[in-house]
Symmetry: C2
DNA sequence: TTTTAATTGTGAAAATGATAACAATGTGAA
DNA sequence: TTCACATTGTTATCATTTTCACAATTAAAA
């Protein structure tokens, strides 16, 4: 399968989410403009994304919701599910942990790490917290490939190195420090402060 | 002043952040390639952004850090500072509140809202928590123009309507539901679950 | 049955964003 | 002083993403 554009992947996640709601509401088919309305985007964009994943709707009936959900699942999910670890169980880290787990069937946080001995070797939100010096061991043993970074900024570079060695292939970086990762690791910078400042700028502009 | 590209604005925020660190370390000038290294981007991009904000460096000396910081400040900040409210003081909401406040001088959360009577009329992280039915009143009175949405998804549409009426001009949406906002409101969708799924997809691909 | 109209699928154009390439310039070395 | 070269500023190019425009099709109405 060819790699889809990043923006299309983001929208596929959102399509799936609203399609679940739609099917619970008893619908079986949906038009591109309906799906577009639910997400505040254009119908063309919906059709183009669906074209890119190689699905076809029925003219005048729209897209079969079940088919679409299952196709998006094939694209986004792995059959066994993907395992993630969260590194840093401070205020932000622990609320992300509880907020996230259970939201997606095929993607879950199964290990946590912290340096604070008060936190390690305990269970938070159903997830075991290990000391950071066991990162490599645990990640390898559990086959974790996705890491969520919520440590204080100054600690992140060292941790990235260990993560890379441990076989992690994707990082969500919640720390405000831009990370340097090897080419084979996919990095998503998720910096709230920057996003807030951006919003503030566009408020100022209007 | 012309409106800058969205991506440039994001980078300006990041430039400023690392420039503060650099100046604390005693440097007075910085080259485009140095700034680029700190953010893991290319020197051309740095030069182009700086060109777009109308600043000029000195050949063979680089950019004056203080000037650059202050120019970026002129662009991003308002002199009085911008005021934000957070709506929904659950797990995620409260950790965002404590995480964010103090990070930026000219941008702060000055009011919180919740429906839970256990939380309202108390102070969290230095910020007063009001009942949601006082949204419009408080936002108008305090001149708040930026809202951070961390309520359960089903409640968000109603709240957006009130926010729009109250004069809010920008929304950071942490809820997983795509919002419908009027044209004159800038919306930043900040959905962690979607971002995680995107990372998972690119892990699967490689 | 024929017509109408709604909807899909997609090539082409436009907009946005990133990179390449290089002329201009002035600093420091010789 | 002159020369070499590091660095900026910017134009042109390339890549990605979104939108436009419209042919093709077929379900439902007449």
């Amino acid at each position: 399968m060819i790699t889809l554009p990043e923006k299309t992947v983001e929208r596929l996640c959102k399509y799936r989410r609203v399609l679940y709601n739609t099917i619970s509401a008893g619908k079986q088919h949906i038009f591109s403009h309906e799906l577009a309305n639910l997400l505040q985007i254009t119908p063309v964009q919906v059709r183009r994304d669906i074209m890119l994943i190689g699905y076809s709707g029925t003219l005048r009936k729209g897209y079969d919701i079940k088919d679409l959900i299952s196709l998006i699942g094939n694209i986004l999910d792995t059959p066994e599910g993907q395992k993630a670890a969260i590194i840093g169980l401070g205020n932000l880290g622990s609320s992300i942990l509880t907020y996230f787990n259970g939201k997606r069937a095929k993607l879950s946080i199964i290990a946590a790490f912290d340096i604070d001995p008060q936190k390690t070797n305990r269970v938070f939100g159903g997830v075991q917290c290990y000391p950071v010096d066991r990162l490599e061991e645990v990640i390898k043993a559990q086959g974790i490939r996705l890491a969520i970074l919520t440590v204080p900024a100054n600690q992140s570079p060292d941790i990235v190195e260990v993560l890379a060695m441990s076989g992690v292939k994707g990082i969500m970086n919640f720390t405000p420090k831009a990370l340097h990762v090897p080419d084979n690791i996919y990095l998503e910078e998720y910096d709230m402060v920057t996003s807030m400042e951006k919003v503030a700028y566009f408020i100022k502009q209007n």
